[in-house]
C-alpha cells in the first residue's frame, strides 16, 4: 500500500519522496487505519448492546445520541476520567505493561488486514503466519494482567484465559494451514485473490474439508478472544470479572477495546479466507479507485455479517465450564482439524486442486457431450 500511495502521489502531484517522506506517508496511513479500526471497536460495543437488547426484547442505549449511537463516546469519556487504582502489593511494572501488550498485539495484527487489493497496509510474504504469531502476544498480556493483580480471582482468570488461548491456537492454525494449502501461498493477497466473487468460488465451498474447517476456525476464534460461550476468564458470576478485575479506567478500556478489535480482526480474516474477501461480483468498478471502494464495501459487509453472528452467539448460548472447554479443544476440534488437513491434501492431489463446483461443471459438460 505504501508503494501504491507513493506512486500515486508521484504521478499526480509530481512529488518525489526520499526515505523520510515514505516513512511519514507510511506512519500517516497506519495511523488512519488504526483510528478507523478503533472506531469500529468502539462502535462494536454499541452494536453489542443494541443487538443484545434486540435479542432480549428491550431497548438498548437510546439516549446519548440519535438511537444512542454516541454511547461509546460517553463510555470512553467516563473511562478516561476514572481514578487509576493500582493495587498496593501488585507488580507495578507488569501491571502497567499487560494492557499495553494486549493492545499492541491487536494493533500489530491490523497491518495485514486485506481491506481491498490496494489497501493492505503491508502485503507481507508471510501475512497469515505473522497474524498467528501476533495474536499470541494477546495471550501473554492476559496472563500477565492476571498475575500482576495480586488477587486470587485475577490469577485464576489469567491462567484460564492464557491456557484457553494457547489451546485453541492449535485447531485454528491447522485450519488456516489447510486453506493455505488450497491457495498456495501465505500472503493474504494470494489467499483472497485465489477465490472468486460468487459463492461457488469461495473456499468455503471448495471441498467438504474446508467447509468443516470454517466452523472450526469460527469456534476457535471465538475461544481465542475469550468471547461467546468461552468467556469463563472474564465471567462475572464466577470470577468477578477475571483477569481484568483490578484494572480501572483506561487500562480496562485497553483490555475491552483490544477484545472487540480482535473479534473484528478474526471475523475479517474468516471473511478473507473462507468467504471470498474483497472480491466484488461482476468485477464492478474495474481496477481503479472506484473498484477499490466497491471491494472495501464488500469486505466490510462480510466482516460485519460475521461480527453480528458472533454477538448473536454470545447472547444465545450458555457459558461453558473450563474442563468442557479443554475437552472440546483437544479431543474434538484438534483431531477434526488434523483430519481436515490430511483430507485437504488428499483432495488437492486427487482432483488437482479443483473445487467441488468446478468438478461438477466438468463432469456435466463432459457427460453432456
Amino acid at each position: 500500500m505504501n508503494e501504491t500511495i507513493v506512486s500515486y502521489l508521484g504521478e499526480t502531484l509530481g512529488l518525489n519522496f526520499n526515505w523520510l517522506g515514505t516513512l511519514v506517508i507510511f506512519l500517516i496511513a497506519s495511523l488512519i487505519l488504526a483510528s478507523f479500526l478503533a472506531l469500529i471497536g468502539g462502535l462494536g460495543t454499541y452494536a453489542e448492546r443494541k443487538i443484545s437488547a434486540d435479542i432480549q426484547m428491550r431497548y438498548g442505549p437510546n439516549r446519548v445520541g440519535p438511537y444512542g449511537i454516541l454511547q461509546f463516546l460517553a463510555d470512553g469519556v467516563k473511562m478516561l476520567l476514572k481514578e487509576d487504582c493500582i493495587p498496593r502489593e501488585s507488580d507495578k511494572f507488569i501491571f502497567k505493561l499487560a494492557p499495553i501488550l494486549c493492545f499492541a498485539g491487536v494493533l500489530a495484527s491490523l497491518a495485514v488486514l486485506p481491506l481491498s487489493s490496494g489497501f493492505i497496509l503491508s502485503d507481507l510474504n508471510v501475512g497469515i503466519f505473522y497474524l498467528l504469531g501476533v495474536t499470541s502476544v494477546v495471550g501473554v498480556g492476559i496472563f500477565l494482567g492476571g498475575y500482576s493483580s495480586n488477587s486470587k480471582w485475577a490469577m485464576l482468570g489469567g491462567m484460564r484465559g492464557a491456557s484457553q488461548i494457547i489451546s485453541y491456537e492449535v485447531p485454528v492454525t491447522l485450519t488456516i494451514l489447510s486453506v493455505v494449502m488450497i491457495a498456495g501461498g501465505l500472503s493474504l493477497n494470494t489467499l483472497v485473490g485465489g477465490q472468486g466473487a460468487y459463492p461457488n468460488g469461495w473456499y468455503l465451498f471448495h471441498n467438504p474439508f474446508s467447509f468443516i474447517g470454517f466452523f472450526i476456525y469460527f469456534i476457535g476464534s471465538l475461544a481465542e478472544t475469550n468471547r461467546a460461550p468461552f468467556d469463563l476468564p472474564e465471567a462475572e458470576s464466577e470470577l468477578v470479572s477475571g483477569y481484568h478485575t483490578e484494572f480501572s479506567g483506561m487500562r480496562f478500556a485497553f483490555f475491552a477495546l483490544s477484545e472487540y478489535i480482535e473479534v473484528f480482526v478474526l471475523c475479517a480474516i474468516a471473511a478473507a479466507l473462507f468467504l471470498g474477501g474483497y472480491n466484488v461480483p461482476f468485477r464492478l468498478g474495474g481496477d481503479g479507485l472506484l473498484g477499490q471502494l466497491f471491494q472495501l464495501v464488500v469486505f466490510f459487509a462480510k466482516s460485519f455479517l460475521l461480527y453480528y453472528v458472533v454477538i448473536w452467539v454470545r447472547w444465545t448460548l450458555p457459558r461453558m465450564r473450563v474442563d468442557h472447554l479443554m475437552v472440546l479443544c483437544w479431543k474434538y476440534l484438534t483431531p477434526i482439524a488434523l483430519f481436515n488437513l490430511v483430507g485437504t491434501a488428499i483432495w488437492m492431489y486427487c482432483f488437482n486442486g479443483r473445487s467441488m463446483y468446478m468438478i461438477l461443471k466438468h463432469f456435466l459438460m463432459a457427460s453432456g457431450q
Binding site: W19, L23, L97, N125, S136, F143, I166, G185
Partner: protein, 181 residues
Amino acid sequence: MFLVIIFSLSAFLAVAGALSVTFSKNLIHACVYLLFSLVGVAGLYLTLGAEFVAATQLVVYVGGVVVLLLFAIMLTGGTNLHHVTSRFGLESTPLMGNLRTYLMGVVTAVLLVVVLCNVLQGSMTGALVSENKFSSTVEQIGVKLLTDHILAFEISSVLLLGALVGAAIIARPHRSSESEN
C-alpha cells in the same frame, strides 16, 4: 536509511532486553524482558530479508516458549519476593544470583569475547563478506525443506512428537508417589 532505522530499533530492543534479563532481580520481569529481546531478534531477521524465519520466531518463541516459561514459573512458585509470605504461601529464597555468581559470569564472558573475536577475525576478511540483495520467499524455503533437507524435516517431526508426549508424561501430577515421599 529505512533499513538502518529498523535495524537500530530492533538491535536496541534485543540488546537491552538481553542485558535486562541478566541483571534483573525478579524472574517474571526477566521473562518479559526476554519477550522483548525475542521480538527484537525477529525485527533483525526482517532486516536480513528472512521474513519466514521472523514470523516463525514470533509464532514459536513469543507465542509458545514465553507462555510456557510463565506457566512454569507459576507452577513452581519461583518468584523472588521481598516479603516473606508470597502469593501462594510458599517460602521465597534468593534465587536470582548474588555478587559472587555474577562476577564469575562476567569473567567467563570476557574470556569468551576474547576467544570469539579471535575466531571471527579470520572469517571477516573483505573478499568473503559481500552483501546480497535477496529475500527468501516461503515457496523457496518450502521446496528446500522437502527436497534437500527432507531427512531433518522428518526427524524433527519425530522429535516434536517425542517432546510432546514426554513433557506430558513427565509433568503429570503423581499423587501416589507424593504420598509415599
